[in-house]
Subunit: 86 residues, 2 copies
């Protein structure tokens, strides 16, 4: 069984109002060293598949078909072998 960790972020050229809002809030809290903030998504998918290559291929397909919007988002993923159920 593999745990796929998927990191999705907006492409650098895409405007990120959520990140700008977080940046403003951090400045208001006194974190004046903050230069920029980009907000994205982090998704963990548990895959019942013991072949690492197949698990990676499935996770990649999931990103392309559903999890990420390839027009405006980049994604990366890591796979960790895990034990057990649920």
């Amino acid at each position: 069984m593999y745990l796929a960790k998927v990191y999705i972020s907006l492409k650098p050229t895409v405007n990120d109002p959520q990140g700008l809002t977080i940046k403003g809030a951090l400045h208001n809290l006194g974190f004046s060293d903050v230069i920029s903030v980009r907000a994205g998504k982090y998704i963990e998918v548990k895959i019942n598949q013991d072949d690492e290559d197949k698990a990676r291929g499935q996770a990649d397909q999931m990103c392309r078909k559903l999890l990420a919007n390839p027009v405006i988002e980049n994604y990366s993923l890591t796979l960790n072998l895990i034990q057990g159920s649920n």
Copy 2:
């Protein structure tokens, strides 16, 4: 300058309707090996600070004060030294 990558996920005991919805959609797309999905946030913060310990301390404070809700969420962060501006 450091880039802090912050990964925020719901604690295991907290219900995650967004993750359940994604899981259902993946099953509908034919990804029958998917056992569970947890949805979280991924935030990149660029910090104008050349001392790694100070940058890490600041990023940790940001998570506690704003980025994560410690009642229902766990967070982890990594720091990467980066060059340049903007």
